[in-house]
Symmetry: C2
């Protein structure tokens, strides 16, 4: 019974996700969905990313959280258009769903942008199950979370197209084996591009920006 | 429709949770449910906790993950009985549910223990919604996750009885304002005991152990 209902919810979600994807294609907007654990540094990555691309690529952001507008407040300082979605208006959902993005997108001028970044709710499990109509998915894994996360949360790494290994500046202070983490990501998704970055210092972000530019063009 | 089904699932869960709680009370086992983001250091906290209490309190652990037996393998080295639950056997659930604990508990000799620690799936959203029949709930927040997590994930902090602020040894290397984090926890749950610890170095764990001992006695 429960599984059947979950399937129905996911099927309904996928139908709307396809509508979103069609709309984004018509409007020539490339959409990336960024996912991770809480506190991995998604928002900091986006702050730095927007600073680096905003003069080259017309961008906007939809940011999802259960509560607060903290992330939208931070990202708005870049001057880029940001829409905050709070899932507690949608039953406290632990992920962004396609209908939430559909509603947020209807409030945006999609003709004015070429690139839409969607920052998902911090959660390494549930967001991986929900197609929201994006063109690409990125996962951020921070060095402070341990090397084993790709093996413990394989679906997230399997559905993503690119991985950022963030907080690389903290390596000297951690018992974290970077090569094991990379090997674990590749065990789940061979050939996944993995960019080692520090959103705090800016280290390594140029390869990530290049990847984004290649995707859009 | 969806909300009604979710309510039914939660009601069914609560019924089994009460059965668990009754069983644990009959067997005089105190049960704590430990929750956090992925990578906050729950397992490391438990490794150190078990080393400090295992000669004083007869303990056992149920550890939940979507996949892998990594955590059980680590915790078993303490010599304490550990049962690993993989939720991918239960549809890849993003949390432990009461029926999962009921099954795991049926495989344990509850007469042989006084204290059961349940390490939940790493997720700051969903596990907060599921009563599993525990007597107390602990949340681990690590300094690397940022000060705002209590405000962004308020339900988790509201339902917990104690908070551990972990990875306190990393403070010199982070832009993390400890006092803001504590204020944010207290904004969600005034009077919550908050223990500043480093599971890596062992710093501060004695107050946490004392709190556990007070709960059990």
């Amino acid at each position: 019974m429960k599984i059947q209902v979950v399937k129905k919810v996911l099927n309904a979600n996928n139908t709307i996700a396809e509508q979103n994807r069609k709309l984004f294609a018509e409007k020539k907007v490339f959409v990336i969905n960024i996912m991770s654990s809480p506190g991995s540094g998604k928002t900091k990555v986006l702050e730095k990313t927007l600073e680096l691309i905003k003069h080259k690529i017309k961008s906007a952001v939809i940011v999802g959280d259960v509560c607060t507008t903290n992330d939208a407040d931070r990202l708005s300082k870049t001057g880029v258009k940001v829409i905050q979605v709070n899932t507690d208006e949608f039953g406290g959902d632990c992920h962004l769903a396609a209908h939430v993005i559909q509603k947020a997108a209807s409030d945006m001028d999609l003709d004015a942008i070429d690139f839409l970044i969607i920052e998902n709710v911090g959660n390494l499990v549930c967001p991986a199950e929900f197609d929201i109509g994006e063109n690409a998915r990125a996962v951020v894994l921070s060095t402070t979370e341990g090397e084993d996360k790709p093996l413990k949360y394989p679906l997230m790494f399997r559905v993503c197209d690119v991985a950022l290994l963030n907080k690389i500046d903290l390596l000297p202070y951690l018992e974290f084996d970077k090569n094991t983490a990379i090997k674990n990501i590749q065990q789940i998704k061979p050939d996944m591009p993995i960019f080692e970055v520090s959103a705090m210092s800016g280290l390594g972000l140029e390869k990530w920006i290049k990847w984004i530019e290649d995707q859009i063009s």
